[in-house]
């Protein structure tokens, strides 16, 4: 049996997991399903593309780093784009969600996020067109790993990057002041306020972190596949499946959920063909909701 699908699934799962961290934090802290989250992936990627192109044009540094298909302009642009995507998420909250949040209607917020998703995606298409774009068109040679599995240097970088980001996020949530405050607001916002937590500050941090990680996931997807305005929207269902599977509010859960969804999708391609790949995330979502609604690391309320 060809085990390459496991590696493919891990790559896609790592991307989904990174994106799902933002979904799970938004869901647990702001208490609504933000269907515009996929657009943060796409916008973050296009921010990176635009900035990297600008850096390349200005400084002429379009070379590559070692065996990777991209160079320092993409890395520097990615960091700045993560900040910009966080600011975009924050701006969306200020302009839209904060006003609805004050009225306390979660359903209206979910519907508003649908609208925001369409608006952001259309704006992206308007600015960049729907033609696919690439960070690099170079073809990379895959390196043999073990058990017949082959990975490109970009894919190895992506896996390492995901591991680092997840570890940093996990430690951040466990040890930092704002991470503790985020956990507190996620569990009991009223008690958090009583304990002196500035909930508005926590909300701002949640948008910034969620946006930045969405950008990271988008850039990695852009590096390994291609860049399209629909790239985030297409990933939305797997993101939610991963967040729910892992347990809402759990950072490690979101990543584990992402890996499971990614590997299940890749396995499905082997068994039933690529046409049914998207259905797998949906099936996993339904199965989890029926069997263990709180998810792997979630706690039943």
């Amino acid at each position: 049996m060809n085990l390459q699908f496991i590696a493919d699934g891990l790559i896609m799962g790592a991307l989904i997991g990174l994106g799902a961290i933002g979904v799970t934090l938004t869901y647990s802290i702001l208490r609504f399903a933000n269907f515009a989250h996929g657009e943060f992936l796409a916008w973050g990627t296009y921010f990176t593309l635009a900035l990297a192109s600008g850096f390349g044009a200005m400084f002429g540094g379009s070379g590559t780093l070692g065996s990777l298909s991209f160079g320092w302009p993409v890395i520097v642009a990615g960091v700045l784009a993560a900040l910009l995507t966080g600011i975009l998420a924050l701006a969306l909250d200020r302009l839209l969600f904060a006003k609805l949040r004050d009225r306390g209607n979660a359903i209206v917020m979910v519907m508003a996020s649908f609208g925001a998703s369409m608006a952001l995606r259309s704006l992206l298409e308007f600015i960049f067109t729907s033609e696919p774009a690439y960070f690099s068109r170079d073809i990379q040679m895959a390196l043999p790993m073990a058990f017949g599995i082959r990975l490109t240097p970009d894919q190895l970088f992506l896996l390492a990057m995901t591991a680092v980001l997840v570890l940093v996020m996990e430690r951040f949530m466990a040890l930092s002041t704002i991470g503790r405050a985020m956990r507190a607001v996620s569990e009991n916002p009223v008690l958090a306020r009583i304990a002196g937590v500035d909930v508005e500050r926590v909300i701002r941090a949640t948008w910034m972190i969620g946006g930045a990680l969405a950008c990271a996931a988008g850039v990695m997807l852009g590096i390994t596949v291609q860049i399209r305005p629909f790239m985030g929207f297409d990933l939305l269902l797997p993101l939610f499946a991963a967040a729910i599977l892992g347990g809402i509010g759990s950072v490690p859960g979101a990543v584990l959920g992402g890996l499971i969804v990614g590997i299940a999708e890749a396995a499905a391609v082997q068994v039933v063909g690529a046409d049914y790949r998207a259905a797998i995330a949906f099936l996993i979502l339904i199965a989890v909701l029926l069997v263990r609604p709180a998810g792997i690391f979630g706690v039943r309320e």
Binding site: R180, A181, R183, E187, L191, R193, I194, G196
Partner: protein
Amino acid sequence: MSQAILAIDGLEAGYEPGSAIVRGISLEVKAGEIVTILGPNGAGKSTLIKAIAGLVPKFSGSVALDGEDITDSPAHVLAREGLGFVPQTENVFTLMSIADNLRLAADILPKRERAAKIDQMFALFPDLARQRQLAAGRLSGGQRQMLAVARALIASPRILMLDEASAGLSPKLVGQVFAKLAEIRHTGITILMVEQNARAALALADRAIILVEGKAAHEGKAADIASDPVIRELYLGLAPAKGTA
């Protein structure tokens, strides 16, 4: 005469504008005092204390902490300004460890003071210190109440407010909670507490206010109220005190 730590003047508060539950309450709590708010169910006791803590909208009147107007201050600012509050239910973060519950509350203090304050709370509540890494959700009702009090005390509040600290506890645990509150009063902390357990509250408090339908029906020394047969029977559901029947 000592200065009022908490001064409430003509406070009207409730959940819906136009239907105040707390109706024109005025009261003062002086430094070092224990004041208890008693009254029948639905009298507005919890609404009053939640309004003071910034959790229920205030429609009119004013609240001052140490002479500073805090009427419109949000709950998280009040916590930082020295108003410690222990809610009746859901008063600990069940998914967080005991230590993290205290760390969270200590985060509003300057960094250099945090560790010492947490150690101070563990010294005051040794039962919590023994299991500091345990998730708070695994604690018994009495232990949770102790953790909630420790959480509220960690920032050295100017006043500690408790909403029915004895609710849902066995008589033995009620005794332990009140014994701990008596211990805390000796540290000089001012306490305002809403209680259903009138007997235990009056035994501990200096003064008492009896709320009926959102208004202060009686106010006086706890010992006087405890021995007033009419108040005991009408408002507190207690049998007349020995020698007064």
